[in-house]
Symmetry: C3
């Protein structure tokens, strides 16, 4: 299992989310972050030289999937979170050793994204 952590623009989330849902990956978590990278930012004097200091709102997306599903998640994020402008963010992939569903105590890959049809309420 792998954990995908993506730091994306807030405004990219809906498109990523819809695509992941469409592809069968409804389970994810988001939180607010501030990130800096190559993008231009607030310029200030520091130790005699100008530096661009840049902290911008980012949405941190966390999603844990089976190894075989990493590429589809990454492709979805690349497709829907890319504007081509500096500041689009980054994706990291980390190893996950265990996953447990609290409600049932089940563990392993079955608790990740695969959903039995009867558990997805249609329009409920």
């Amino acid at each position: 299992m792998k954990k995908i952590e993506a730091f994306i623009r807030n405004e990219s989330f809906e498109a990523v989310r819809m695509d992941l849902l469409d592809k069968g990956f409804p389970s994810l978590s988001i939180s607010e972050a501030q990130g800096s990278g190559r993008q231009k930012g607030i310029t200030e004097q520091y130790r005699g030289s100008e530096l661009t200091i840049h902290l911008r709102p980012k949405l941190k997306l966390e999603i844990v999937v089976d190894d075989k599903d990493v590429s589809v998640i990454v492709e979805s994020i690349l497709k829907h979170a890319r504007t081509g402008q500096v500041g689009d963010g980054k994706i990291f992939v980390l190893p996950v050793e265990a996953a447990i569903r609290i409600r049932t105590g089940e563990d392993g890959e079955l608790v990740l994204q695969a959903h039995e049809a009867e558990e997805i309420p249609a329009g409920a």
Copy 2:
């Protein structure tokens, strides 16, 4: 060392927290997140079919422990964060390669949860 990341109901935290404290694990971090999974949510039309979109407040609990302590932490969370209803959340276990206490620069397992008695103020 392992990092346990649990996405739980906000209202489950106090019980988990008290139990972990009781078992000798006072060091942890929490942050606000929004998560989605199998639970029912806001229904909206999407590409002609109804989908349940669900993002709900979750508390993200992070705790780093020695390998041998993973099971007691997981058991505590399962016991105290389980309501039996969809939406109880998940627990993930990730490998951690190093841990350093900033105050002293010490590293390794000794900086994790074990506390010498004199450093826990009694009623202070």
Copy 3:
């Protein structure tokens, strides 16, 4: 590649940030967290004995770097986030298997902290 997660005092961030920028590591993310550890906190009665319950605001710093750069990051945090008082926080190092820049789709270590001069606007 490694991910460094540091839980530090909010007031330590600027010094850490400036030093990391100075050393060529502009890419990082921060978010708000609450942490507890050995520091004194709010005391309350619990199961008949007094316990110190302590959740304090912490800043979570996340930075992904090449293996060879872990020590310089850790040293910087230790130097600038250490007050010597209980509550300075901790640093954790986790393995990272992949890193992708969303704007270009590039992956690997080249997307991390190394910046070509022309991409850092001087006073822009």
